[in-house]
């Protein structure tokens, strides 16, 4: 570094002396090379990690998906698109993709709406802001395992708090995690409790950035609180809402932890998401090549969803 510093000095000084004042932005080609060097120099540490732990696995994963590679006996030979063909005909893969898609659809609506309601309530200007923020956001800090332990215990059919409360108010008991028709909803409830605080904070931050003059003008015109919320707050939040929905869909599509820990994908595969299917085919079924192929089908779907979202938001803002 010190030698480049010295050379910068020695070449820099005559430049200043000879350069004509009207064009000081023009740089000699030597400094161009130098900034190329320092630019890539600064980028190198990140690039090394990026290439080794992101780009290489992506490329190697594609290669793996074209082989019969397994964890037990290595069969590295290329078998073309056989894994993909098999996956596309695999009812279990489609079912796990369907479960992932179903979870994403039914979880996104409450995860956005409840967050909006929470933020709107606080934005009214309630006392003890920290207390509300703490209660709504604290679950987000928990590990998925802690959340799963909490909810498995609360969902316990005989000893659980939820069924006990239900029967106290005269409602029938529910086999939360054991009923294939209910299990996914049980996971949505746990996920809502766990992660809604993140969306809530994003909404709250966005609401507090809305200029107060809008509200002042509206209240001079006699607009009430509801009117102000629907005519000022909601429209001003549109970009935030779009962003939260996008982030939420992408996050929900990656669901694995809480399902694996609470139901292990059951009962009868009714909650098994695609990430769990990838994990199982790779690590319990030992079929790494096949598992990689499913990963890329899933990846392709995520790219498709992102592109569609991008197109929709673009059209809306255009």
């Amino acid at each position: 570094m010190s030698s480049s510093l010295a050379s910068r000095r020695s070449t820099g000084q005559p430049d200043i002396a000879t350069a004509t004042p009207p064009q000081p932005t023009r740089r000699p080609s030597q400094s161009r090379t130098r900034s190329n060097l320092s630019g890539w120099g600064f980028a190198t540490p990140f690039l090394v990690f990026f290439l080794v732990f992101l780009v290489w696995p992506i490329l190697y994963g594609i290669y793996m998906s074209l082989t019969g590679k397994s964890l037990t006996g290595a069969n590295d030979s290329l078998i073309g698109f056989a894994n993909y063909a098999e996956a596309l005909a695999d009812a279990d893969m489609w079912r796990s993709l369907g479960n992932t898609f179903y979870f994403t659809v039914i979880s996104t609506v409450p995860l956005v709406l409840v967050a909006l309601v929470m933020a709107a309530l606080l934005n009214v200007g309630l006392p003890a802001q920290w207390l509300w923020r703490l209660s709504y956001f604290a679950p987000y800090l928990l590990a998925s395992t802690v959340v799963s332990l909490f909810f498995t215990w609360m969902y316990n059919p005989q000893l659980g708090l939820i069924n006990d409360s239900l029967s106290k108010i005269g409602l029938p008991k529910v086999a939360w995690l054991n009923d294939p028709n209910v299990a996914m909803w049980a996971i949505v409830i746990a996920t809502l409790w766990w992660t809604v605080g993140f969306n809530f904070l994003l909404y709250l931050a966005a609401m507090q950035n809305i200029p107060v003059q809008h509200y002042e003008a509206a209240s001079l015109d006699g607009a009430g609180a509801w009117r102000q919320f629907f005519s000022i707050t909601l429209p001003q939040l549109t970009p935030t809402t779009v962003m939260i929905v996008l982030l939420q869909i992408l996050a929900s599509m990656k669901i694995f932890d809480q399902v694996y820990q609470m139901t292990a994908g059951g009962p009868g595969g009714s909650t098994r998401p695609v990430v769990q299917y990838i994990f199982e085919t790779g690590f319990t079924g030992y079929r790494l090549g096949y598992s990689a192929a499913i990963s890329y089908i899933f990846f392709g779907l995520i790219v498709l969803v992102s592109v569609m979202q991008f197109a929709v938001t673009r059209r809306r803002s255009a």
Partner: protein, 298 residues
Amino acid sequence: MATPTLTRPAPRTSTSEGLRRLRKKMTAGKIAALVVAAFIAVLWLIPFAWATATAFKTETDAAAPKVSWMPPSGFTAEAFVKVFQDGNIPLWTWNSFYTSAAITAITLVISALVAYALSRIDFKGKKVLMTVIIASIIIPPPVLIIPLFYQMLALHLIDTSWAIILPQVIHPAMVFVLKKFFDQIPRELEEAAVMDGASRLRIFTQIILPLSRPILAAVAIFVFIGAWNNFLWPFIATNDGALLTLPVGLQTIKSAYGIQYAQNMASALLAALPLILVFLFFQRQIIKGVATTGLAGT
């Protein structure tokens, strides 16, 4: 979008002033909001409360068919004592702490360096680099578990902490967040240093970094929480009991304790404690961190 709140806190106070004025006009509405907010808060605190109540029961009371907040044999700390005696929770907490700290440190250093280059230095291929980094935001980590596992096997890193740490340090979205912050730092501040012939690295460490403390803290918090709570990758990367992180270790508890509900809840609460304490102390910074990096992340 959220960076202005960091650099100038003025709009926030004016918002709350305006709200204070509004408040007088809608006291009834405010009370209604308070009631609803309190109702949600109670719902949101029940899992914590119920876990705490269970953790302080005897195993017999916890498994009693009659569900009650107040156990017949009174409360006892015996579940906590048992969990603590087996020694796993402190070990797992330590493992989580140092792997998360290492991930956060490496992420900050490499991301800030490349973000500085993207923000301030004109170099050939910059646009391509920027595009590649932005495009990589979309890659879902679970898609890479199979090739990453194979890579760790090949590098002989399985069952070392490096297998947990190394693949978690790439956060393209955070590079973007840092770059946006650096873009806002006035160039005049560097010009004097450039005239004095200071090197890029010196400008970066002595001018840019000190001015970027708020965003560095925000990114650090965001990355740390994510690493601390990550389950899938550490679950795959280690089988060595001595290296398990808290979330992975807790997963083994369920089967080990079987139906020991009080011990399960005591473990879960002990595992939750560190981040909840950190949150109580650094509430402001954590909220700002999540809001800033979350909002700017797209």
